[in-house]
Subunit: 225 residues, 2 copies
Amino acid sequence: MLVLFVEDERDLAELTIEFLELDDIECDYADNGEMALNLLSSNVYDVIVLDVNMPKMDGFTLCDKLKSKGDHTPVIFLTARDALDDKLTGFSLGAEDYLTKPFELPELSARIKVLAQRNKPKSTIFELDTLHVNIQQCKIYRSNKEVLLTRTQWSLLKALINHSPNVVDRITLENAIWPDQIPSKDMLKTLVFRVRTLIDLPQEQSLIHTIRGTGIVLRTNANGT
Amino acid sequence: MLVLFVEDERDLAELTIEFLELDDIECDYADNGEMALNLLSSNVYDVIVLDVNMPKMDGFTLCDKLKSKGDHTPVIFLTARDALDDKLTGFSLGAEDYLTKPFELPELSARIKVLAQRNKPKSTIFELDTLHVNIQQCKIYRSNKEVLLTRTQWSLLKALINHSPNVVDRITLENAIWPDQIPSKDMLKTLVFRVRTLIDLPQEQSLIHTIRGTGIVLRTNANGT
DNA sequence: GCTTTAGGTAACCACAAGGTAACAGTAGAT
DNA sequence: ATCTACTGTTACCTTGTGGTTACCTAAAGC
């Protein structure tokens, strides 16, 4: 994760950057707006942390320039200006966050991480052996071949994923799949069979295991807990 | 823009909601976590504002449940707990922002608006295969031929673009297209059919896919992981 | 060793989800 | 006032799903 840190007080900057780097956040540093613009023209950042009061070009101006240029890199203002009007100015210029000095380093770090997430795809991916599942996209692959599941089959798989690698008892599964009806005795049995034939291909190791008398589990091998 | 406001002090909530609504932010209100969960099961919100200390279910627990369920609605904590540890807890549970009481109403409003933007497309141009969409100008081209959509057709397309390449369930789509009415059962079906005939031309690969029993998705069928 | 029971496998069919087309009411334009 | 075209409604058709039933296999119990 790469951050552009723009701040004219060098000692504060140094201290902060040192902390952030320990937290796995790499930093480029600029001590004024113009220098920041230069760096921005040749680098892509996950987040920009911006002081407001700076020589040459202040943070507000820089943020405005950026955003109106169509750059959507998230901006956090980090400034001693704690008046409401300043904050509102910051947000109206398109900033994503506004933190006032004095601040606590871990909080800044947490906020940077939130913003860095923002542009990443929000897909939740589940992987186990050669099984790849993208939950938001409803896409399932087994050894790079797409597997098509129907709605009920899909809810069974999701329930198993939610509990994996733990064993899920049949009652819990039934409630997850048919929330507002009492399913008849054999429905789950049939459903598990169908999903198994689709997911556990003959040439692959099986991932859906039955623990007799207990429940079903999605994991690489049946033995051990 | 629709916000879920969860807060157990009724007078503070009332005051805040009144202010937000003047600022064009519609609010649903819950005074505890359980009630919030109920509302969340039947509504889709742009942002959730969460108090921490509440009867029945506290805000941290609620946020944890939501996020681990795969719900990506942005969460702001709004609480008197201003200790660093509390903030870090909030962020580690997946919250997008954390504001401490006492707070200023316009700042809350600004922060809500930032988060509501978050799920909107960042770019005014959307491209997929031979489909080119300029969202601001409402211009749509398929293989360089302009496509003219009506207002409702356009809002369907926008909703699909917002979620692409993820699958959108029918309820979410209906809420996005007809925000203040319960659409009759077949309206969406017909609308999708109409948009499909306009966008998915016979000689091109189809981009609007139905995931039976789940929803609609706008994407190419290329196998990504 | 025999019985019992949980679970595996297979085929069947009603029906719901979705696709398509035609029609009607209504709002906006001229 | 008239016309147009958009939106919502209804009807009909197609197909895949999901529930059902039946039968089989293999553990577990006695």
